[in-house]
Chain length 418, copies 4
């Protein structure tokens, strides 16, 4: 089996970058050491559809150390780091199908190339493997032990499948682990989205009005960082409890049609579709910048924008100017794809360490519990989750308190009162 | 049935303060308007053990408007606002048993006075009614429909009871409502604890080292506000995931024996016992200030402090100086009772509005579902929770987006991919 | 010479509170130790018009230790702590003229009582001593060595006098010391104003819209703290550079007529007059809270409010409700006097330590330089300022770096380039 | 006269980027419109040694519009944007001498190429033009009207020259304008330094310990942004007042030898030399990242680091690993040159708009006042400064209050008291 990557010669550069990332991934590296001894994934074929970044290389190396045969394709056409793909294909000898900027057709060819390896475990970031299997490659299903899913968007899709009884093998929702979504979604998306927006624009955030669409964990992280950079943040939401949280966190909350008239920068992180659309483009200020950091590029209605625009041109890398009737200009970043991966380098290794430790342990768990799980969406077991946090703290040299026996007793007692 | 309060003549003053609080409680007032028409609690005897504050008066008035016969005692010896007790007893004609500074014996007499009214619904803040009933007043159990519980500490106790199969009637954990613990615990405890500490000490928080013991919702809120006042915050925790969250939020995390040597101000919000004890007092700096904002006054080991000290004297209201061997002085606030209620006025009405809206709706729900619930700890139904948030936003004049049909469809679909 | 205070019997209570404050005033206490030995103020009569608080007692005790004969009156009718006045008069034997809530007439009688002591040094907080001397007690001028001024408002007045050549003796503007206005105005006013507003209202700041009028050092501190408590902050300014700073700090900036329609809480800190007036009351929302933390109670146009209102009543201590035509209610805190002193306890001792160290050293400097200074407004000499900071850091156990000889040389050289 | 740039063909790309930057520079563009009409710099030869960035192109275009003949060289070997140099040389027809990565020798050749144009106005960013003129090109001095200086470091050098009476023509310290250092140094350096560090490392700042060396305006901005990204910030300082400010702002302050053992990331912004040196490298943790954002690359003692290291290799662009005895690894960013320009794109156009508006107006002022200024370092006149702020606010659509006649009178009066 061969790979499809941009340029083999980028491998040495990729290797150094992976080494750098690996330094911030002590938890995954400890798992790798154990996997090398125990080989819990021996002979297991894993098909992985993930963002092909330095951190993913560290995960793939860990799975391979555990005995797995892994093949990898990109989970987004713009998020691949070509030097990492070259390193994985060339040095790690992992079949890798990922080229930054690949078209939709190539994207699905790559997914199918991975599926051709007849994986018994799937590892998804956005559920494209699972949905392709369920719609076009049903023959694979009977051989599959189960799969894992990395992201909110994917979990939403998979839970919808489970609810429609369309899901045919068990999935562990890595995203639901506290050591995943508390950290990756909040601190990872927060920083990397800001990073992507600044790289694409070099605009000053301080003093700008920054509209965050969606106040889930990603939105909370993004609002926190935008505010930490000095922006005045407006939040839009459809969930009243989250909306109220945003108000109490000091942000303004309003419908997007109103926010459209105030914002300088907009970023969607909802997991939903058509969040910014024609009715917003009609109201938006001249010079507004629009980005998406949700998984799919459907959050901004780009077809509507294209249709409304009289002119389109590229001013900087990842920065396209659309001129609307009347002369207002709107700037779209990274073609509306997740700006933190398309323009910047995605989540820092430090958070991916925990997310991918969950992936590796979830894969081991699926294999260990083969045949015992139903075709449902499962959470990562709480003890794995907690153990990852404990290991992470230790790797940072941070010690914490432990419950005394008296305290444990107190927590399980109910007699003592005021 | 009569009341036991400090001074009837305080009623007019209490009435004005309740009017002031009521202005910030639009959700509860809307429920009151409906209750006046529908009388869903008609003839229901409610025994309530709550902090006797202005907001509680608004709740009690709401329950009474729904047809209930309410009697009230204090859920903490130091948290009663005597003018409010006078107003409730005098103007609202609610049997009220609460005197600020009452001793332990009086405290339990007051609980029993409420139980003498043979309540069929209990309303607890710390589970003292429920645990007294289960240990000393078992005769009441057969008549009881169920109860509600306001606080984390109480929920911990009640879940322990349920796990030991000791709980004999259903409880709705109001604390678990998102419109309760996201807001009351975080924003309410955060502000009111800072308020209590400043009132007791008039110390500058900026530039101080502030140690928060516990990083649950209350601890998160407190750390955020201490930091917002310019303090350098240290967090101590026993849960590794929460500890890691605190690290990522920019705080230092370390064992309390180490933090003891750095802190200027310490505050416990754990729901546990003996968090600050002898081994910490041994290490603590001269001049350190210690407070508790957890429900019970067991978080600081005051007996140990008393035993170690050579001298004790009161410098200001709610501020006692303990002189340790070697001359180090430790300052204890409000006798280690919840500093936000003992020294300040507790949570602002704005957050209690939602907490108590949950209380009122939970009482109605218990009555409606009489006989259908098991002796377990239930959450507040999600639709009540969400409706409270929606009403609150509307009362603040804040409009939010709604899902379009296309978005609802997208969220329940799984076919569309990258 | 005798005192005019509320109640002598409050002295023991005052003494304990002064002891508590003194613990946070290590710099002033070190100066006191030196003064006791060197007696630099021997025989100097000092007239002090200051807020009569615990910290002022520590200052007065320091001046007396240096040999001065001090007499004191209040610099604001509402800011006196009666127990401290009792302590100063009774235990320190300092002639003290200050009663909390004294009327305008008594206020000026008290000023004149101090002037009757024929002070040769004046110590002002708002320039009332100096302006009374220049307008009504000109006979005193020839004996006066000079004076000091504590606050922004006073410095504005005195510089206006100097510009009109009306100032007849030298003044040291303690307010201009960096160890004063960087700390006292910013961190002191920030915290204590928030403290005053919360004590008066018990309102939740999180989620509220908080309008700060004026973005000088006090306004910056207040906006920072309001934001740190979770409020959404709007700033109003007349100075374009400060307005731009506020924008870059993430706040919204707009004219007050517009902010009037959005704000839940308003606080003036401008040092100017009629900042909130009739045109704003006309637009303000029902339930809005208005406070002032500037020196004089002219920042809010209370006569206009009184005139416009149909009803006025007191709901809580320091909280008065004005009902405007149409039924909108406006709540005025502490009669529009500086809310941090009228409702709370003023700046914490920790910042007053530096402000009053500047006062004590400025008094010493005036005496040492008697006859050498012109009738102008002088800054505190920079070396005194820096020495205070150095001593403060040492008292906090904080060590800092020192320039190496090579670094000192580098800073004074210009040859070395890129 | 010809240029020395990397590649003429980059000009179109440079032009688009300059157009993008120009959109955020409304103040400078308004000045350009006026200059085109008034031609205040007609025939004036300007030699400019500035960072060759998109914003500089907008400035140069403005000066040329005013009639000046400008020639430009880089003020730092690593900060040049080659496509902008190509645009300036090719489209604007400005003699431009700047190549990213040029060596020390080329750097000084470029300075001399600019000086060969016999400038009568100098425009410096770091004082290299002025110091070269004073040391090697003294013949030019008699023809020179004066110069401007952009940065703190340059102002320190020039004031040292003036103090030694070595400065031979007047300089306007653009850096001292409030619309410059309040904004550019604080918000510009803050954001762009964080940007540079993240681009070079992709490390998560949240949860890291970030050491800021120097707490001037740049250091304040950097600490604020590092903290805003979730880092735990330690500040080191030599000035006790600034150190105390840092403490009150909630940061830890300690000597760098101690901070060296705690920090994950270090950044110098002092304007001084050898701030991080051998004694710190000895103590630093394995994996520590070191950067400089001060003007010159002398803040980190790189020769000492080179000498101590056993191995050096490049892991990523702008990221070099030094392995110390014992195996500890230290990562140096951008060769210790100002990380915001060497790794990222420098200050956003939005702040450079004001800095360069000051440059343009200072140039006009020097020409207008030719012969009337002494060989000293002057501040930008306050009315220019304020006018720039007013124009900037207007360009952002922000309106502010104006003093009423009654308020102006109040501020200049002194009679009215309490």
């Amino acid at each position: 089996m061969k790979s499809d990557i941009k340029d083999k010669k980028l491998a040495p550069r990729g290797e150094l970058k992976v080494e750098w990332a690996s330094q911030s991934m002590p938890v995954l590296n400890l798992i790798k050491e154990r996997f090398e001894v125990e080989k819990p994934l021996k002979g297991i074929r894993i098909g992985a559809c993930l963002h092909v970044t330095t951190e993913t290389a560290v995960l793939v190396r860990t799975l391979a150390a555990g005995g797995a045969q892994v093949s990898v394709c990109a989970s987004n056409p713009l998020s691949t780091q070509d030097e990492v793909a070259a390193f994985m294909a060339g040095r790690l000898k992992i079949p890798t199908f990922a080229i930054k900027g690949e078209g939709r057709k190539t994207y699905y060819q790559h997914i199918n190339a991975v599926l051709d390896s007849k994986p018994v475990l799937t590892m998804d970031d956005g559920a494209d493997l699972v949905s392709t299997i369920h719609s076009q490659r049903k023959d694979l299903i009977k051989g599959i032990i189960g799969g894992t899913e990395e992201t909110t968007t994917g979990v939403i899709r998979l839970k919808a499948m489970a609810e429609h009884r369309a899901l045919l093998f068990p999935i562990i929702a890595v995203n639901e682990a506290e050591t995943k979504h508390f950290f990756d979604n909040r601190y990872g998306t927060g920083q990397s989205t800001i990073d992507g927006i600044i790289r694409a624009t070099n605009r000053l955030l301080a003093g700008s009005t920054f509209v965050v669409c969606g106040y889930g964990w990603c939105g909370k992280g993004l609002a926190l960082r935008a505010s930490g950079m000095g922006a005045n943040v407006i939040v839009t939401e459809v969930n009243p409890i989250r909306a109220l949280e945003a108000v109490m966190d000091g942000y303004r909350v309003m419908p997007l049609t109103k926010a459209a008239q105030e914002g300088d920068i907009f970023c969607t992180v909802t997991g939903n579709t058509t969040v910014i659309g024609a009715e917003h483009f009609k109201r938006i200020k001249d010079g507004a910048i629009i980005a998406n950091s949700g998984h799919f590029n459907v959050e901004i209605d780009i077809p509507a924008l294209e249709k409304m625009s009289k002119r389109k041109r590229k001013l900087r890398d990842f920065l396209e100017e659309y001129t609307l009737p009347g002369g207002r200009r709107v700037y779209l970043l990274g073609e509306g794809r997740l700006v933190n991966l398309a323009v910047a380098e995605g989540h820092p290794a430090m958070v991916m360490d925990m997310s991918f430790a969950n992936q590796a342990l979830a894969a081991e768990y699926l294999v260990k519990n083969r045949g015992r799980l139903k075709p449902q969406v499962y959470n990562v077991p709480a003890d794995l989750d907690r153990e990852i946090a404990r290991t992470k703290l230790a790797s940072m040299g941070i010690d914490i308190d432990r419950l005394t026996p008296a305290q444990e007793k107190y927590l399980s007692a109910w007699e003592e009162g005021t």
